[in-house]
Symmetry: C2
Subunit: 350 residues, 2 copies
Amino acid sequence: MDFNELRKDYLLDRWVVIATKRARRPTDFAIKEKKQQSKTDTCPMCPGNEHMTPPAVLLYLKKGKALQKTRDRNGVRSREWLIRVIPNLYPAFTPPSSKTEARRIGRSVGLANAVGHHEVIVESPCHDEHPAGAGSQQLLYVVNAYLDRLRALSRKPYVKYVSIFRNHGLEAGASLSHAHSQVIATPFIPKTVEEEMKASKRHFEKKGRCVFCDILAKESKSPRFIVQNSDFVAFAPYASVNPMEFWVVPKKHQATMLEMSLIEAKAFARMLKTCLSGLKQLVNDPPYNYGFHLALDRKARKYYHWHLEVYPKLTTWAGFEKSTGVYINTVTPETAAETLRAKLKNCPKS
Amino acid sequence: MDFNELRKDYLLDRWVVIATKRARRPTDFAIKEKKQQSKTDTCPMCPGNEHMTPPAVLLYLKKGKALQKTRDRNGVRSREWLIRVIPNLYPAFTPPSSKTEARRIGRSVGLANAVGHHEVIVESPCHDEHPAGAGSQQLLYVVNAYLDRLRALSRKPYVKYVSIFRNHGLEAGASLSHAHSQVIATPFIPKTVEEEMKASKRHFEKKGRCVFCDILAKESKSPRFIVQNSDFVAFAPYASVNPMEFWVVPKKHQATMLEMSLIEAKAFARMLKTCLSGLKQLVNDPPYNYGFHLALDRKARKYYHWHLEVYPKLTTWAGFEKSTGVYINTVTPETAAETLRAKLKNCPKS
């Protein structure tokens, strides 16, 4: 069997990928000092080093004035790419090798195969072209690559959710500093998203409205509002668990990013750049994580509303947070929003 | 009003303390470099520096051969202590100043006062007397201090839970390196413990047995077993979310540590030292967090079973974990247990 194990906690409805395929010895931790690979090291994501990675599953190539979407074939690695999507060398989730292996998750058993996909989206040929400083065309390519992989992976019969996320900086878990995002397709809906879905379904059944549309209406006029453009609003959520946390939410009710028009995708790319460059200037390029929440299930389309959650990594969750699931945040969301708003006044408008 | 705010997420049943009382400006993060205070700095927990902290709420003093339990009175700080428990200078939860202020948490409103207590247990007058290397008598004092504060705080009418936890090392969130634990008393049962309680209640109603007693019977004979003594078993849980995670569980069915006999408390202190010194030797004194899970509610006594969860801090939870609530663990619990067992063979027996 070629899968990692998905195991459920004795009591909690919480799943963990036990990465048996890349299992490490505990002593590895003692020897290895954490160090982010630098530009001067050989970066496997930089142009010219394509042989250091598996063949690309998606490439954006520049052909004259046109953009060509393709993939590496027969093991030959293409050059001159603008976006390069590759399988993760140490995948947490792996595709089934035969139809019989794509088993459904068994909650009662507490064990399943970690069937799915785990990919890396190299966001630019330029090592340091992170969203806060990326060219607007390049950032639009990144957003389009998110959409292309979301579309392709969500069609697989064994995929129930597609998590698209980004780790920025060593302290936020990015071991490679080349600008990149990751995509993990899972055979179940993750705990946090599932809880959100249940609650938003209850809200819809009770009030006949999408809870996120209600939140948006309220936070657009609250002291937690940060910035908006034609199609998106950014605000610091009322019960932020991370200092300086903010969310980007589409004004239109949409369950997934796949419902975005090209104009909306452009507006989203601009909003992402605006907020991340504001954060970068305000807190001196802090480490952060971001992740999309979305609904693939048709039934959820009425009541679920996709959004991006951005978690700056400015504190350490310690014994209290980890053992209780209760959080302590030393920056109020109102302060987070106020300082980001003030910083954005001095930034180019989106 | 002199409370921090407790806020509930829009959708998740997840609470956060918005620490308005110790609110920081976002720019603080940019300026401040994280640095653990060293022995050579003035340590507010070291003997002679008692004036740097609030008066102690509990002191163990050595009086000849007897141990005296007392507290600082009239602002005079006692010296020559063995254990010193003080209010946290920047408390997340604070006691009510009048009866009317001790309001119950309102889940529907999503807002409450962070009523409770937040204390620091200074574990030894010796700066570096951490559990892995502590004298057995001193470690028994620490365990007794846990019990004394648990007993005292759980009697308060506005306290629904008492979380006792320890952060070891800067990467695990310990900004002060003097050996210490913390106690937080909350006006509600925290999310993770509540979920465990609900599931263990369901198990009891279905099978007539405590789920932890069942887990213990199984894991005592599984490849995840680490070590046992007269009254306690240590094992790596089946779905560990942290590399090298282990739990210490009492063999007797007990809902809280308050049910321990003195002999059992001694056995617990020995087990704690055995496991933490094994971890220290195996992974070169890694940062870790630990936290107790327990039940104060009489009704839960039948089906809930207290235990200690120890989380070594060897990886960084990144965008995937934070946005989905699904975890990736690169050390299998079986490997964790096997390597800890092997290391403990060379350690003094507990």
